[in-house]
Amino acid sequence: MAGSGTAALRERDDIVLSVEHLVVEFPLGRHATVQAVSDVSFDVAAGETLGLVGESGCGKSTTARAIVQAPRPTSGEVRFQGRDLSRLDAEGLRQTRPALQMIFQDPISSLNPRRRIGDIVAEGLSIWGRMDGAIERVDTVLRDVGIDPESARGRRPHEFSGGQCQRICIARALVLDPTLLICDEPVSALDVSVQAQILNLLEDLKASHELTMVFIAHDLAVVKNVSDRVAVMYLGKLCEVGPTDALYAAPAHPYTAALLDAVPEPDPDAGDAGPALEGDLPSPLAPPSGCRFRTRCPRAQDRCAAEEPVLRPVGDDPDHVVACHFPLVPVETAS
């Protein structure tokens, strides 16, 4: 894997978010740096949900944070509604915040334990001086996420369960009517019965609030359920990007296939699909040359060590791209 290149970018008029050549480095000690995200490019169209999936350390959360410029990426462009966020000054960036909201994995620690739910949800409105009708607005979004405003407004986060806190976090994100909602592992801390409620809720809100979403998760089945398009990451690079059902039905990248094979199916007769992927993630401090997945890839050959594969279209679908020299399905060879 390794995919660099911009083949995942589409030519459309309704692109809300476009990330180009994104690089995020973190200092490590005095002289070393680690590259958490290495030249990643993708886009999200209006009303679309892009799922970002990969194992720990693949850079999916770092990508999400780089989109909202917290911290700012080392290089690359993040174009949101036509403006490059990485070039905006602090005030310019602040002006974009209402349109660009985020929810996180741990809903309980995302809420200030000392404040009341009504104040937590209203805070965005008070910061932006939109206090006219604020109470009604807060009540509306609380109702939208399935929390009874009458009883919740005066209570504090510890009086709610994890699932309810995640609903409150979503209400807080929605109160300013955002265009783009970034969800970083929003259901992985929740029980399965509650997880299903939140996933259904996000689907409903996406329709009712006309949201565009970036949905990050490590659980492939969860990502499949909510996403229109999926991007698979490995060690800071994109492996494969494509329409959800096509990508899951016929993964082109050996890593995507291995990830799918590894998901334990809740079916006693399913058995194990394909051989288990061997070995561990290589150190991000010294990523393998060429394709970063080659050290664990059953199809790797000499070329994979020598040359980094570039994202290119799979078959005749320009929206489905893969970065692999020896993909599992035929790709366009003229490049």
Binding site: E55, V192, E203, V226, A276
Partner: protein, 332 residues
């Protein structure tokens, strides 16, 4: 699946009416409420439930690992015929590691961060099995190799933080297996791991269970983890077993509304994207304020007045298939 054949052989583990309570500020909390189970040698028992269902407390109670002053465990736990409930902490030391061992969810906190991993394995070997230094060393290297750790000589000198999460979990499994326990209890052993590593660890546990003919208890919230790797599954809710059946029966012919709710609420790879999930309404109950009747009744679409007043007992509806429900689903 000996229990289905009506085996007369004494079971490896027999738990009867186990109850674990904690004294809390909010009153008495019954974490495990009268659970009985029977595990034969060479079989794997899956325990499935959400947070607060009592699955972890049950596992720890079986091994007598609950030491809080506020806790009380009653009932009977017979491991290879020996009653564990009456044992003193000193006597338990001869059980832990030797007869029964446990693998926990988070390998970082279950390993000693300041000790080389080799020494953490030889410690038990020398103490329990009275092995000499060289012999313990040799056994330790063989163990590391058998759990799939490459270059065991080099890794034995590493500290836990120098290993990946998957490698650390392999080390905790090596420690658990070191003294040849007959019973291995794995509590969410792969929850902290990535899927590709999860699969490696589950395969390792299954292989070790087979080769050593151990009895295993595999505790998880993930039905996918237990589907292909257990003989029997017990579904827990609010400290009780609400349904128990051989694995295939549980997946194909479950009768409890909660079991069905769990099965339907998980997103599946086989479904197309944007499939509406059948969520269970409400949330898991507060164990200090349980409703009078069936604890699942407030979330159950089939609940009647009787469910809200009376607690259904776990009863056998078919050989090997037990259910605690007044209004079960139709048999498939």
């Amino acid at each position: 699946m000996n229990r289905l054949n009506g085996s007369t052989e004494a079971p490896l583990l027999e738990v009867t009416d186990l109850r674990t309570t904690f004294e809390t500020r909010h009153g008495l909390l019954t974490a495990v409420d009268g659970v009985s189970l029977r595990l034969d040698r060479g079989t794997t028992y899956g325990i499935v439930g959400e947070s607060g269902s009592g699955k972890t407390v049950l596992a720890r109670s079986i091994l007598r690992l609950i030491t809080a002053r506020s806790a009380e465990t009653t009932g009977s736990i017979k491991l290879q015929g020996r009653e564990l409930v009456d044992l003193s902490p000193r006597q338990l030391r001869d059980v832990w590691g030797v007869q029964a061992a446990m693998v926990f969810q988070d390998p970082m906190t279950s390993l000693n961060a300041t000790m080389r991993i080799g020494a953490q394995i030889t410690e038990g070997l020398r103490h329990h099995l009275d092995l000499g230094r060289t012999e313990a060393e040799k056994t330790m290297l063989a163990l590391l190799k058998s759990v799939g750790i490459p270059e065991p000589e080099r890794r034995a000198r590493a500290y836990p933080h120098q290993l990946s999460g998957g490698m650390r979990q392999r080390v905790t499994i090596a420690i658990a297996l070191a003294c040849g326990p007959r019973l291995l209890v794995a509590d969410e052993p792969t929850t902290a791991l990535d899927v590709t590593v999860q699969r490696q660890i589950l395969e390792l546990l299954a292989r070790q269970g087979r080769e050593r003919a151990m009895g295993m208890i595999l505790i998880t919230h993930d039905l996918g983890v237990v589907a292909g790797r257990t003989d029997v599954i017990a579904v827990m809710y609010a400290g009780r077993v609400v349904e128990r059946a051989p694995t295939r029966v549980l997946f194909r012919q479950h009768r409890h509304p909660y079991t069905r709710g769990l099965m339907q609420s998980i997103p599946r790879l086989a479904q197309p994207s944007h499939t509406r999930l059948q969520a269970i309404p409400g949330r898991p109950p507060d164990l200090t304020a349980l409703p009078a009747g069936c604890p699942f009744a407030p979330r159950c679409a089939r609940a009647t007045d009787r469910c809200r007043e009376e607690q259904p007992a776990l009863t056998e509806i078919e050989p090997g298939h037990e259910l605690a429900c007044f209004n079960p689903l139709e048999a498939a």
